[in-house]
């Protein structure tokens, strides 16, 4: 029924449009006649009654008296009647007649297209975690040709979709974003349960981008919005910082490690560090070039009997503690969400009685990177040789929570530390922080030898090419050079005199050039080596 309406309405609209174009100056009564009839038909089809004369009168008023363009007048009158009879505009105008019915594969092929209206029949195969209040539902629908993401906006007023049910989606909008296609269901869309039950393409046959449920290794998880299964061991659990997060930490397998977040909505009740799990339907999210696994409602985890070996991904750095950042020392956390309190106030829960915690946020600068490092309570206690209680007592006695920070600064700043830990996007989560090992004398010796060698080469090439005595070489350098000269003299005994002569002046060297092979050799050595520096 609606289909008929659509086509009819569009036809009249189209004809009205052409009429309009032809007779821009004067509108004859026939045009009004036609429009009135169209409106009447439309209303009749939707169960509302209105006489043609009345419609005509309204149209005439708008067109002649108020000089409203005829098409706009028709629209306005139609809308007025629809409103009067309480008929949903969405229902009447669904599809606008231009809407083509498409298969999902066809829609997926429309990448780059935006705001294209289509009809599609699809089965709801996944419902996702919803992150935004303006979205009522989001997930995947599929048919026998493919799957596509959909977004059902809250403002659409549409009723929610049920998982595994097939619907006819009418007047949905195809949007492209970042090369991916999505269908939006908005206020103008119409969703009806479909008469047919669709067979959805098996997930294995989906295009690479939509591939789900494939077992992957951690190292392969390097694409945003990738759905995957994985077997991994939980390396570390972080302190929970948000109430919507059930667990967060680091997981890994033999190929690498990554961060993960298990949302409260996942229903996951227990994850323990050190245990291995089979995780199905995790989604990979990219942030600032780093990838993390998110476990949401679609996700299931299962503890494994076997233990997954984890590739050690420890980050090691030796650096000088150049700063202790704000938020170090004795801090208070919200008892509900563990967020750090600022002046006794939690960003989430307002004024709360915080619980004390001890931590250090230090910057270990190795001359190449400023490594921001977080050191947790137990490690801080060890380094300071004080327990959390000691520091609380100290702060209470001195009436100054900053005194702990001063202690930390005194302990750390300006000293070198060997830091080992896990590198996250910004911070190193320290696993061990030890005062740096004393300077490696062998390394210092090697560097000295290398530089001495470079100086030798440089001096020779300078001496030989300019014939002038170097001013830059220190005494020891000169000695070095003389020693070298002597050794060369030994090997080139016969050319000894010429070499010294040449050494005294540029012109001499040039005149003797051809006759002195040996000194030329010496020169060559100097030059080539000089080029290598």
């Amino acid at each position: 029924m609606t289909d008929m309406n659509e086509t009819e309405f569009t036809e009249t609209r189209n004809s009205a449009y052409t009429t309009n174009n032809k007779t821009t100056r004067s509108i004859d009564d026939a045009g009004i006649e036609e429009r009135s009839a169209a409106i009447q038909r439309l209303l009749a089809d939707n169960g509302a009654d209105a006489g043609v004369p009345e419609i005509k009168a309204r149209l005439q008023e708008l067109i002649y008296q108020f000089k409203v363009p005829p098409a706009e007048a028709q629209r306005s009158v139609t809308n007025a009647y629809l409103k009067k009879h309480n008929i949903s505009k969405a229902k009447v105008f669904t599809g606008r007649g231009l809407t083509a019915t498409k298969k999902i594969a066809e829609i997926n092929a429309m990448a780059g297209a935006n705001d294209v209206w289509v009809n599609v029949t699809g089965k709801v195969i996944q419902l996702w975690e919803n992150h935004h209040e303006s979205i009522a539902q989001t997930g995947l629908i599929g048919d026998e040709t493919g799957i596509i993401k959909f977004t059902l906006w809250s403002s659409s007023g549409l009723s929610l979709l049920e998982l595994h049910k097939t619907y006819d989606f009418k007047s949905v909008v195809v949007k492209s974003w970042n090369g991916k296609v999505n269908v939006d269901m908005n206020r103008a869309s119409l969703i009806e349960p479909s008469a047919v039950e669709l067979d959805v393409l098996r997930s294995d046959d989906f295009g690479e981008a939509d591939k789900a449920n494939e077992m992957r290794k951690v190292a392969e998880l390097n694409r945003d919005n990738l759905w995957t299964d994985l077997k991994a061991s939980v390396v570390q659990l972080f302190e929970n910082t948000h109430e919507s997060i059930a667990f967060a930490g680091i997981l890994g397998d033999e190929t690498g490690t990554m961060r993960f977040t298990a949302w409260k909505t996942s229903g996951i009740e227990n994850i323990e560090a050190g245990k291995s799990y089979l995780i199905s339907n995790a989604i990979i999210k990219e942030w600032n070039g780093n990838y993390a696994a998110e476990l949401n409602r679609a996700c299931k985890i299962e503890e494994l009997e076997e233990t997954i070996d984890v590739k050690p991904a420890v980050y090691e750095v030796t650096g000088c503690a150049v700063d202790i950042q704000a938020g170090s020392g004795l801090i208070r956390r919200c008892p509900d969400c563990s967020k750090v309190l600022s002046k006794g106030v939690c960003a989430e829960h307002g004024k709360v009685k915080g619980k004390y915690d001890l931590r250090i946020k230090a910057v270990f600068d190795d001359g190449t990177r400023a490594n921001e490092t977080v050191i947790n309570c137990s490690m801080t206690e060890k380094i300071l040789g004080l327990t959390l209680e000691d520091t609380v007592l100290m702060a209470t006695e001195t009436l100054d929570p900053e005194c702990v920070n001063d202690l930390i600064k005194k302990e750390f700043l300006g000293k070198y530390y060997d830091v080992r830990g896990f590198k996250t996007d910004r911070f190193i989560i320290a696993e061990s922080v030890e005062p740096a090992a004393p300077v490696n004398l062998r390394e210092a010796g090697l560097l000295r030898e290398l530089i001495e060698e470079e100086l030798k080469i440089k001096t020779i090439s300078d001496e030989v090419s300019s014939g002038a005595e170097t001013e830059t070489g220190s005494d020891s350098d000169l000695e070095e050079f003389e020693r070298l000269l002597a050794s060369m003299d030994e090997s080139n005994d016969e050319s000894n005199d010429e070499f010294s002569a040449e050494f005294n002046g540029e012109s001499d060297r040039e005149s003797n050039d051809a006759s002195n092979d040996a000194s030329n050799d010496a020169q060559d050595v100097g030059f080539t080596a000089g080029g290598v520096i």
Binding site: C320, G367, T368, L413, G414
Partner: protein, 197 residues
């Protein structure tokens, strides 16, 4: 924090810092960081320096303003700490001389009467350290300086933080004349000799 990055503390011996030139601000913004360009091509805003604190004196009139000299094997650093470097000020007021210190700070400059730009360091943190940390600093600074020299000789001045226009400009200079780094190599050697067995 987009756009924010912490300036790396550049390792530099006193001789090299002394011979560095102050770069004009890249943009007109008041808070744009200021950099020095060192002879070996390091571009530094923050430096990590270490040595022996040889003297610290209050040169302020009325308010406390400390000037201190830090001596490393190649020369002397001058540091100034005023009321906005409260921690450093307190440290210098109570410091024993001579003692090993480690300083992280920003390079600043002021014009002397004869028009020469004098470079000094405004300490962010200053701390007494042991010989061990001083030695680590010497070796580290030696390595970094040597790396800069080799890089310079091979591909021209790099500047340690090369994001900025001026650094790029120097880099892309077609035929750069490679300076003679002999004196800086000797400087490194001199410093390394003090790392004791």
């Amino acid at each position: 924090m987009p756009g924010y990055f912490r300036e790396i503390a550049v390792r530099m011996f006193a001789k090299e810092l002394k011979e560095s030139t102050f770069m004009s601000r890249e943009d007109e913004e008041q808070y744009a960081p200021q950099y020095v360009l060192s002879p070996t091509g390091a571009k530094a805003n923050r430096v990590l320096i270490s040595g022996v604190l040889t003297e610290a004196e209050n040169i302020g009139l009325g308010t406390e303003y400390y000037k201190a000299r830090i001596s490393d094997p190649t020369g002397t650093f001058t540091i100034y700490a005023g009321q906005y470097q409260a921690e450093a000020l307190r440290f210098l007021a109570e410091a024993n001389t001579p003692s090993f210190v480690m300083i992280v700070g920003k390079v600043t400059a002021f014009k002397a009467d004869d028009g020469k730009m004098l470079l000094s360091v405004r300490p962010e943190h200053i701390q007494t350290v042991t010989r061990k940390d001083r030695d680590i600093w010497i070796l580290e600074t030696a390595k970094k300086t040597h790396e800069r020299i080799t890089a310079f000789e091979q591909e021209g001045p790099t500047g340690e933080n090369t994001e900025t226009e001026s650094a790029k400009n120097t880099e892309s200079a077609p035929a750069h004349v490679c300076p003679d780094f002999t004196e800086y190599r000797s400087m490194i050697l001199k410093a390394l000799e003090t790392v004791s067995a």
